[in-house]
Each structure stands twice: as C-alpha cells, then as structure tokens.
Symmetry: C2
Subunit: 486 residues, 2 copies
Amino acid sequence: LTSCLSIPDPRQRDALIHLEASMQTGGQVVLSDAEQRLDALLFKMKQEETAKEDFPPAMHFFKARDLIKGSPIFSLLQKMPKGGALHLHDLAIVDVEWLVKNVTYRPYCYMCITDNRSIRFIFSSQLPKPLQRCSPWIQLEHLRAKMVNVTELDNSIRNNLTLYTDQDPEAVYPSQDVVWEAFEQKFLALWGLVMYAPVFREYFYQGLSEFYMDNVMYVELRVLLAEIYELDGSTHDSAFTLRTYQDISRQFKANHPDFFGVRVIFSIHRGVNASVMTGAVEEAMKLQKDFPDIMAGFDMVGREDSGKPLWDFREALSLPAERGVPMPFFFHAGETNLQGTEVDQNLLDALLFNTSRIGHGFALPRHPLARDLSRRRGVALEVCPISNQVMKLVKDLRNHPAAGLMSEDHPVVISSDDPAMFGASGLSYDFYEAFVGFGGIRSHLGSLKQLAINSIRYSSLTPQQQEEALAQWQTKWNKFVSENAF
Amino acid sequence: LTSCLSIPDPRQRDALIHLEASMQTGGQVVLSDAEQRLDALLFKMKQEETAKEDFPPAMHFFKARDLIKGSPIFSLLQKMPKGGALHLHDLAIVDVEWLVKNVTYRPYCYMCITDNRSIRFIFSSQLPKPLQRCSPWIQLEHLRAKMVNVTELDNSIRNNLTLYTDQDPEAVYPSQDVVWEAFEQKFLALWGLVMYAPVFREYFYQGLSEFYMDNVMYVELRVLLAEIYELDGSTHDSAFTLRTYQDISRQFKANHPDFFGVRVIFSIHRGVNASVMTGAVEEAMKLQKDFPDIMAGFDMVGREDSGKPLWDFREALSLPAERGVPMPFFFHAGETNLQGTEVDQNLLDALLFNTSRIGHGFALPRHPLARDLSRRRGVALEVCPISNQVMKLVKDLRNHPAAGLMSEDHPVVISSDDPAMFGASGLSYDFYEAFVGFGGIRSHLGSLKQLAINSIRYSSLTPQQQEEALAQWQTKWNKFVSENAF
Ligand SMILES: [Zn+2]
Ligand SMILES: [Zn+2]
C-alpha cells in the first residue's frame, strides 16, 4: 500500500497527459498549419456533439443512424480520403434499395418463401425446379402486375435483404443466436439475386461506386467465389467468378483513374468438414498462382462461436507451408465474448499460422500473449464497430475493446464488414463510431490520418504499390485539408 | 504484412496456451491435491453453467439474480472465505427488507413524500418541522393503523430504498442520468432511517452480520460520518459517529472472534466547494490522528461525470503532504465512459496524489500510462461488477474492462459498492460475476484464492496485521477446501 505523500507538480502532470495522448493511434502525427486549423474545427464539433443528450456511439446504430447523418463530423468524414476498406464481404456492399429497385424488377426473376419466412430468388428462362422447404416459385413480374400497390411487397423484400429495421432492434434481435440466424437467412436471400451473371457484374461495379463515392480508394474483399449462373441454369467455376471480379475492377479503375484497385481474399464457410477445407486450400493455392494480381489470400467465414475452431483445420492450413507455396492468411478470429472456449483460441492460432491481419479480434484484450504478438509483429486488427454492435458483442461502442487498443496505438484498421446488412454504406459510419466513440474527446485529426495510412500500410499491396497508393492518398488528403480548413 | 509461412508446433502451442493462462490473476497459484479436486469440480460446474441458454453475466443483474441464487457455483462462493470487502458505502450494506420490517415499524417514525415522489424519514418525539418540497410528515404507526392491508405500503417503502426492481430495469432506468438521480434520491430516503442513533448502531451491526454470514472477515467502509441524531432532534459530531463505528466493530468482533475487523475511509461528496473540501481534509487529518485504529484514509463520493474533477481540489488534497501528516487516499476514479473529459483525468490525478487504491477504475484500459503506473506501483482497482452494470457503464459483464485486466493479473480486488441498493448482499454475487463473467472458462480456484489474498494484501492494514489476517484466512480456506473437495 502506497503511503508516502505527494503533491503533484502541475507541469509534470501536463507532461504526463501529453505523453499519454501521444501514445494513441495518430498521437505522434505532426500536423501542418492547415491541418491544425481543421483539427481545431473538428475539436469544436466534437465538443458540441458530446454535449448533446443523445450520444450516437452509446446507441444502437439503427437508432443512431439518422443522428449520425445529421452530424457535421460525419459530413467531414464522408469527404475525408479514408484510404482502403480491408474487411468487407462480397454480398453485403451495396445498398439493398438498389437490389429491390434495379434487380428484382428485371424479367425472369422468381421468388419463393421458405418455411421459416425468409425468401429466395432465382433468375431463370423457365419455371425453376421447386426448392425444398419453400413455397412454389412465383415470377415477380407476374406478381407485381396483379397488385394494386407494390410498395408493401418491395418493403417486405427489402426487409428480407438486410438486418436493418426501424423497429426496436433489441426486440427484433434479442440474442446473438437470433441475430446470427437472421444474418445467415438474409445472406441466402441475397445469393440468388447477386450471383446471376448480368446482375453480378453490375452489383460489384455498384459496390465499388458506393465506396468510391465515400472516398475510399482501395478495397480488399472477402469472396466466397460461388458459382455465377446464367438464365438457362448453366453455371461457371470459381476461376470465372474471380476473373469477373478482376475484369470489373479493371473497368472501374479505367473509369476512375484515382481509384487504386481491388484485391480479394478467398473465403470458405467454417462449417465445412476437413476434406472440403483441404480442397478449398488447394484451390486457393491454384488461384493464387493463376491470379496473383487480384488474389490476396485465404480466410474462413461464418459465426465463430458455432463453427469449428481454426485448430481443427490445422492440416489443411499447413498445406501451403508444406508445399512451399506462399498463401497469406487473413483470419477472422476472436469475434466472440465467450472466454476460454476452444473457439477462443482462434486468436492465438491465427497468429501461429502467421496471419497477415486479424478480422475483428474483439477478444484480444483478454489474451495478453496474443495481444503482444499482434503488436510486435504488426498484425493489424480489422475493427468493424457497427458490425460488432449489431451482432450483439457490445452495446455501448465506448466500451468496444478497440478503444483501449487505440489508446496505445495497437495496429488497427477500421472497416465496415457488411455495411448493407447493417443499414450503413461505405466506411464513414464506422469511422464516425471509431473517431467519436472509441476516441472520445482526445482523438484528433492525427488519429484519422493515421487510420487512413494504416489502411494502406496493413493492406496486402506490395511495398511498392503501397508507396504509390500513399502518394495518391496524400494528394487527396492535402486537397481535403485545404478545402475544409478555415 | 507477414508473409512467411508457418506450421505451428502443437507442443509450442500448448506451451503458449499455458503461458497465457498463467498470466491471469491467480495463474501462478500452486494448488494442493485437495484444491485440485475442488478445482475439477468447479470446472465441471462452470462448463454446465456456460452451456445453459441464459448466461447470468450477460444479463442485467436484476434479471440474473434468481438464476445466480440457484447456481451451484454461487453456493460454493458463498461458503468460500473471501477475505475483505474493500469498497462499500455506509448506507447500503443492509438488505432493505430489514429496514422496512425492523426500522420503519418503530414508534416515532415519520415519513413524507417529496415533490419528485421520493420519500424521507425522521424519528422524532414530536411532529418534526416541515421539509421543503415535501408533503406534511405522517407518523407511520398512525398511517398503518388506519390501513386494512399494509403490504402495499411496505412494498412502496422498500422500492424507495433500493434500485432493485422486478420490472424491466432497462425501462425503469433508461439512462445513466436517470439511474444516478434515482440512486441519490434513494440514498436520501435511507438517510433519516439509518442516522437515528439507536437504528444506526443496529444497522451497522446488522451490516457486519450480513458480510460475516457471507464469509467476509474484514471490511473497509466509505463513510460520510454524517450527524447521528436523537429522538429529541439533538445531533452528534463526526467524532461521535466514528466512535460509534469503532464501538460497534469491537462489539461485533468480541461476539465473532474469527472476524478480523473494520476500518473506515472518511468520504465527502465531490459536489462541495473548495473551502468545504479544505475543511473536510483538515477534519480527516484530525480524525486520523485521534482514531488511528479505525481511520484508514480519505475519499470523495458522488457521480464523477457530474461532479468536479479531483484536480479542482488539488490545494485541499495537498494539505496533508504540506503539513507532513500521513493521509492515505482511496479515490474513486475512472467510474465513467466519457473519454477525454476533465473528469477522465481523475485516474491519472489519483495516481499523482499517490492514491492507495482506485475505486472502480472502469476507464483504466483507455489510459495506458495510468494503467502502467497502477500496475507498477501495485495500486489495486476495487472492481464492483454489479454496481458498474446497474449504473449503466456496461451491459454484458463479459465486456467489463476488468476481464482484460485480470487476464494479465493487474492488481484488483472485487467488491460490491452498495449491495443493498442493487438487490445483492455481501460479496458473493460480485465474486460470481467476476469468476464466471470476467474469467470465462479459464479462471479457476487459483483465481479465487488470489482474489481473496489480494483483498488482504491491498487492504489498509499494517504489514503485521496483514500477516495475522492471512493466517486466519488460511485456516478458514483449508477448512473450506477440505469440506468441499471430493
Ligand atoms: Zn467479416
Ligand atoms: Zn463507490
């Protein structure tokens, strides 16, 4: 027990406060005069925002979204060049309104309703074969023709494609089990719509547009490389899907020269058995060889708590090393708050398999050894605040573990996981939660700058590509600062 | 970006898992054979408990309480010798049922109802002077005599003395502001009941009994040292109150030789102005000199977010050092999730004033420098899980920051703050939340043992007293183990 008395020296106190502030993400960034002016503006905005009765990061995002939309900080974050989005999933990057209005209105679009009241879609030139546990297929064109008012139908379709709801989210999704079940059902509803060849191309182009509009210059996308199908029911292999991603990315880049590009992380559902996993890793190695530009590496998706732990797949995951084939891993790990389970070892195991980054890493602060390894090796956490809140890992985002990690500049990037599923879009909403929620009053323009730089430094780009991307980003950043600093 | 491949060695992996487990609170405790048998039993209980659908630490305590009561882990924790309770407040250590049934039924007990529908009490030999913003005083004896059924009245009184409710706590207390306002009103309602001289003695004795029954052997109590009053309206000074604490403690110890004792921390509301604070510190120094056995030190109470920061009182708090008078501090600090505010500096300032322990320290993980200081200096956090949940700092106790801190054996003790206010009693409920909620599957009997030892090691007892207390505790512990290990 400390018993010696102490009169703190105010100057020493100031020095310690500054020292602690300098330890945070971006705490050592030196700001130019213009940046300092912008930072002063931001500081004022944040003080005003914190003084209001409703503090958005403490609220469920579904209820906070409109408040955030009206926030001057959010407007600024939208304009800010945010660098890359490194944790996104293929089927949830486009506003579902676009799918309802542009996709379900196309001819040959069939829908059926499952026993558990979800929906499925397929495009087909003739009546598709019936689906198990589903109503007979109805052609949407015919259904809509018979209706006086299609708004209700369209709303119902939209609600089946996203978790977002204007009802009370706590009542609609009372537990992690319920929200994960809904999440997977909605993913299956999206599947038939998006994987139809003509839609697929437009969907991906639209997704890139939404991120580009949100001032994101680079994207790394987790992709299932599922079969793309045609109207006659014929399907393509995973190489075709990957090539399509590559073609559309190049086309998008040709139309938007200041967009840096896309890389993809081939992902497989963690529910598969060992032999399927082995096949997937072998396929990943082949794709990595055939498409070195766009293929970034390998990951698993699906709910960790109900799936198999990484360690169960250690044989399959050891294949690349055994064969001397480079295969970067980008594992989801620690997206759980059950401590001490088999699944809770995923963080350490991901690091033992030399993962390049960690998806979420929500449980990291409870794993001091994994935390230390991740820090020393520069294995960045892909932090997706809104996703973690909607999937019920944490209620008040000020309590998100990344708040503590960012207070000591642990390597992190901010991403949005499945923005369309959460009623968000692009990266700005998640940047808002991170900046205002995790950072509190103390985080500043330097923190934002560091997060943007992190998203390039921790990307799968080669060092040379990173330099190029950083140079491009710096130009955008300077423009942003000069246009917004007064 | 890490790109070299790795095949993890299972033996190295095991070693790392064990290393990480050994870093947690109690991770290095060596268990005897009997302890190992008890630990195996505990592990089985915990696995069964975690597999159930409703996981109490994830639920609001008001809803979880009955589940916890029925838990075999909880029964064991009740029997376990827990050492000391180091963070408690004077007016909230006794089950309110006792107050309703034993205190409000005494003669001369007057009650009035305030404008904001709280209640106040006073014992008085004649009709007391009217209170501002309150209904006329009614003598409860007369009121009850006129009623056919007093149950409703008694229930209403009880509800006014505790935050606990069987209604939906989220609906009753939707925000931190609401719950803190209710907390302070209920404290004022308790005041008139407890500070009446005859009640005060019995109340404190009853409080010690409740902790003793819960196998707590030592108590450090934050006390306001408010005026004790008599039936004729006369009042006593703070020395009288302190002497009463000392007398009752000695009496309790005489009746229970295996109870180690009580020390008190003189506390003043942080809402006061600088000159009142100076007066309080001066009074504390005098009391420390006059009652060295029972006086442990000084603290401030009341909601940090709405009160003045510690730094505002730096002149008063520097007085003991200036005068060379020993005055241990036990500051509440960091009981907030607003980051970067003036109040959020309390953690660092408490440490700069050489605080002996930190009350709550909820914000510590966001202050890497304060965290490091607290660790290196062995300044323990008094972690009160149920209090933090009811006061709406954190919803799911698995996300409590202490989970991360305990995974690396940061100095902590577990306490219950205001158990009667939260519908809890003693320490066992909070030990349950810490052991099952923070610790997950991984924490074990060694963690519990360490927490009990911590509560003596980080107490304000002298080193010699600590040795005595530890020896007494060890005897109890051995008995507990031998009676429960099979
Ligand atoms: Zn993801
Ligand atoms: Zn307290």
